[in-house]
Homo-oligomer: 249 residues x 8
């Protein structure tokens, strides 16, 4: 333990083994991590059900399984995003209770099911093609201990589908909106609710959607003031930010 | 007159002055414009109230006044777009009945007020800053003999403002929608009405709106199938296309 | 039925079960879709031969077949765009009369062959590589009950090929122009005809064509005033907009 | 009052003037805004000190003064952003207690000074040139009833300046980070705190900063999971979102 | 034959069957292609050894073989660019003397070997990776009847390699320069020679070369005044333009 | 004179003052310019009426006048492009016969009026706004000793205007085409003529023309094979390249 | 002094005033800057003549003068970049020996003229318009205690101008190359010398130079391996990096 | 030998075989490479352990093996970058001591292991996904005779990981920093150390990282003055520049 090395330093000063000047000099060269400041801080930020997260993309099955196993020893929930079936097979061999969601492309170990949130996170998607990104947000938010409700395929070209759910949306504590193509849905949702809206542009579309740029620009320029934006297809990030908001005491 | 030169050719054939072969050879080298084909065709396309149009930007007051005066001799309506007050002053000196609309930045000579359209053109704007572009469309459509109704400041972040006018919108024969920022309004309007929607991205916005690119991309990627798009700030083009549609027999 | 719940509300008011104030309060919370407004409106917009449309891209054969079958029950035409042979095989198993067009990449069920249009839709392509996009427009327009004529490989570098068809083009009620590379054809066609032109940029080209951006920008900046634009490779959208225009009474 | 028209409808049903079926039919055509749903909802979202906001850019002094005066009648705080001194002079003539902040470019009427937030909003800027954007966030957050602390000129190239304030930052309930150039600060701050971070790219920089694009992209790609982003230079939006978060019960 | 229909028209005028006025009216509606103007013109432009060209990309082997065979009947040279081995196999079955160049990816039928050029076309490439594009230019130029010399791997980072060939370059009548990456070579070559330089940006490079954009922009901004540019990887176009220049009488 | 220093070296070798080895060593360190190779070569490239050129932009009147005067001493024609009236006034004070063309923004000293070209350079512009760029090409080509003919305002939306001049265009030895907006004109002209076409995109347009990018991309992707392109608004470059082509023996 | 506060902590532990545990706890909350680590480190990095730098752009004359005066008290050299004459006037009032270079736009106080470099920094510019950026690098490097030599107007289109200086360039310890337009010069220089080359793209150019993007991309894609790049127009950064390299022991 | 041909020229002058004038004329036409200037210079730049480098991408195994074998004859180290296992197998057949690093994708022949550097090159990577690029830099620097230390996975979102290595970093002579996503790490490292920092943007990331553009822009706009940048994923270039710096005497 690192706080120990600091304490040992002070012990040596007290016992006269080191002069204060020598202690100052040595402190100057101790790596910060050894001080344990950041790590403790980091742990505190992630306490209470916040899962450790593995970004699966470009990792071998063995790497994902290795990290997953190590994280699983901490006792909390574990989440791997952008994971494929091969990575899951490797994890499964070591941890039988791990689960794979092919839509969200997540591997999860869901042990701590306590609700840490104050309210509900609503997750909205414009079209059916946006659902994988939305589901990544769902899984992230649930693993982080939130109650989640989702409203899929309520895009702006059939505005009545959205309006039919307005009442429910306005009762959420934070709303995530996933949309590709023109990315207009967060603006409309933002105008309907009085809570923070996290917009997730998706790469759904073709031609001048430029793999999500059109949606991203649309969301950044939203005429609704309660909208902030995460990266294209970043369902995890949206779920993470929404969880932090929902867990604020 | 060019048709005359053709007729003269035939006359010379009839009178034996030219053999048919010689006539064919000569015809081969007659410039097409001298045949008058295109011009007649062009006149037909612009008949019945369709104004001749001057693009005022980068023209001197003298140039605008000169062209305006020449067009005014044809007897129909005359329109100059992207015009400023100095250009208008120059026009006014020559044609007392010309009028200037500072919002639409148009100079007009509105003589033929007959209604050539079959129905109403609805012109919708998202915010108050989009109104100048919308007004350019209004003036264009009116000068081309259409009945116009406008619905301003009905952007998507306060969707009830738009829904309050749905009934009226669905009765239009064609709808023009002007919006900057995220350019989401055409998608919502497109979902509400069953007629063609002409979307006009405006350069209204800041930062990542990139002077209208965000709105343009949003409109090109509209999830509503009845939307087509014109250039950024091109209220004139939208008014022109809408008029052609409204005048179809 | 939703209108029923409204009627029930009024019944309860008439019978004295609810005061008018209580009814107002309750109405305030009824989801809009339950009112049935939008749905009825939507149906009306799609009546009379307008096919329901499935966007096939990124859908499994089972999904496409499932939706296709459900839509086929409505009795009208059914259209799936961006479909592949596997999706068609799945549809074919359930609906024997469905047909696949490998060029347009469409699956169609063509039952209602009534002509709902007022005139002819002309569909023009610049090169042979643009034909798949043009054919998507052809199939869409035909399924929506229009008479279609097409003019392929009439690009601007051999202008005589286009001029040879000018007479026919000018008789159309609306023109669709598909072009990749520099996207110049809509401007030239726009100058030849007096009707609305729907321009479809295609991703045909290489290098600085940037998968259709060059053509898209060319069309948005067209010097012909009667041109509006849809997304890159969006033949369906062009066919849809053109049909709406052609069916205007 | 619109609820009145609904009540009148029910009255007529009760009195037998209208049958329930006739009432349903009539309701179907009532504009939504007349129902007053959205407006009431809107008012509720903005209650309790949330100021009405005027976007000053491209408005005349008379327009700003006119809207400002009308909003001032509601009794709450009033905020105009992107305002200049001329606009302020026009406002001042009508409302003596209005104030102008030349750095934030805001006109404010600050009457309701109650603290509606649960904690503190920390507002961080990378350089001195980012301060105007940060100050717009400060003014917005303060007018919306929040306690605000700011930490300016703590950019990443002198990381000790930021670390010196880490303790204070970790105690905030939400953090706003404004940065231009490479936009790296939100990532570092995001790693230090366990609360939501709202990143505001600023247009500060030159050359390949492309007026804030470099910073915007940097923030969207932040390796810290608790970061969401608003438009370039959108201090108001960040202050607004942060306020909503801070006021969550 | 089209000229026949015109002659027939004149015959009918001479025989009194048609009045000149009737003839003018009928002429007005004859399609231009029927006049045969353009076709004759087109043939003239392509006379004297200029090969017909097939763009192989996205064509089936059967299509390429079909067109190739038809063109081969005209007796001149035939060129297919962007062709693969399968297309060549299909062509070979029908025309035994056709040849394939795997580097240039061209199928050629080289029958007319007369030299139509006035001088030599020099073709320069910056690196070995640019050679396929350069070879497409070589094949094009040779089939069009030019004497070609090439200088490969003489990029600017080892300027002595280029300078060693300066004497030879200055004797060319036109120079083609192919370069990827920074695209600097045309500027240096342009400064060394006094003849037209055709620059071909190639997609060689990685990262910020953006598949040839860096080279393209470099060439468009060349500080040498005698440089003009064709599309990325467009070796054919460069060979074609250079041939036209070299054949000017 | 530099050739003198080389000669002196050889003289010293001949007289025994230097050994051949010492001469080799010294030669190794002589700056190339002192050898005079390039300069002589440069002069040859610019012989026979080719003007020296000053790029006026960002230069002070004194600088332009200074360089202009020095160049004037060589006896040939002198050209300054992108020049303003103040620069001209400064030049005029020193050289009475210098002339200013406010449209082309050129200062010229036109003394050598011999025709060095083999044929005519045709300069075509799409719209009236493109004329300044076209005129820069005209002035450049004329000063370089060419016969120039221009065809203005013959854009593609009124194709008959271009076709009316086809006969004349096909007689030119090289054609320059200036166009903004969609930049379609070079493709059409390229299809009409059999000689090299130099395309000049202009920054004329608005919105999605992006100051000439739309036209530039259009031209680079031209479906006509005889088109090469210079920088946006670079009328000088086009005139220069065309002159080189026209002067080829 | 901050090391003092640490020492005081150890003193209190030794004297029994604090237990080691209490000391650990307190240390955990000491801001890092108070530890003095970074500051001491920062000072060390900037020792020995390295000037403090003020970025003048967007600062008021009073601000620049205020910071300049404070820095001047440290005794070393002081540099303000991107400064204008008004800022200089304000500085001059307080510090008579400050100097202004209108070309480099720098205000300098040059007191420590010791040479801290090991060799010479060569600063090369492609054209005369690049000289202001090059001069900013010159001033920076000289103030940081380096011997500087510059070679201006040696762009690649007249390669002999550069080759004439090759001998001198190869003797430099590090080379800075400033170029706009196509940005080709660093590649050529990089090939001539065997030392690090710092490339500075400048915003010189027009049209498709896109204010320095063309040059920037060219430099990033340099085929010479010894080239690294700084921001557009960032002469200061290049001078700074070159100085660090030249001062390496 | 080329210097021989020069000497022979002088010999012929001395012996009277050539007059000095004839010698000057002949010299004028000798290709520069024949003089051997550049080659000698090139060899000098690459002396002392600097490996010859083969860019493997797009080369066949036979080509790589061929060049590798030829270079191996020179006796020094040989490096092939962007190489795959097939290329290695081909090399291995000819040179048994060649080695392949699958992470860095390099083939090396490491014979000269002398340390030519003055200090240590530190190579830092932000995340584990950036390691392949970092390893390419490691291999390059080691083959060029440098002592290398690396610090991986020390990205800015967990700043303590970086700070823990600060002491070591500040002792390096030059630092290479590889980072994808937001590319913030070079700015932070640049602020911690007083030596040159070479930043390498990597293509690691997704969505709005645009394959490394976000990181590239972030690095170009670094607020740390000691940062210069190489191309995306160009670990080789960074290792090369760092080696040159480290070997400066």
């Amino acid at each position: 333990m690192n706080a120990d090395s600091i304490r040992k330093l002070f012990d040596e000063v007290r016992s006269g083994k080191l002069t204060p000047d020598e202690a100052v000099a040595r402190l100057r060269h101790l790596p910060f991590e050894d001080l344990g400041f950041a790590k403790v801080d980091h742990h505190r930020a992630l306490r209470a059900g916040m899962p450790e997260v593995i970004f699966g993309q470009n990792k071998t099955p063995a790497q994902v399984a290795g990290i997953f196993t190590r994280l699983a020893k901490h006792g909390g929930n574990v989440l791997a995003t952008r994971a494929d079936e091969k990575q899951f097979a490797a994890v499964r061999k070591k941890i039988r209770s791990a689960e794979y969601d092919p839509l969200a492309r997540t591997i999860t170990l869901f042990r701590d099911k306590k609700n840490y949130g104050k309210g509900t996170i609503a997750i909205v998607s414009a079209g059916t093609s946006d659902i994988p990104v939305a589901e990544e947000a769902v899984v992230t938010a649930e693993l982080m201990g939130n109650k989640v409700e989702h409203y899929y395929d309520v895009g702006v070209a059939g505005i009545h589908r959205l309006l039919a759910n307005r009442e429910a949306l306005t009762k959420s504590r934070v709303v995530i909106v996933c949309a590709g193509m023109e990315g207009a849905l967060p603006s409309v949702v933002g105008g309907l609710v009085g809570v923070p809206v996290i917009a997730v542009p998706t790469s759904v579309g073709y031609g001048a959607s430029f793999k999500g740029i059109a949606a991203l620009l649309g969301m950044l320029n939203s005429c609704a003031s309660n909208v902030s934006v995460v990266n294209i297809d970043n369902g995890f990030g949206a779920g993470y930010v929404a969880s932090l908001i929902n867990r604020l005491p």
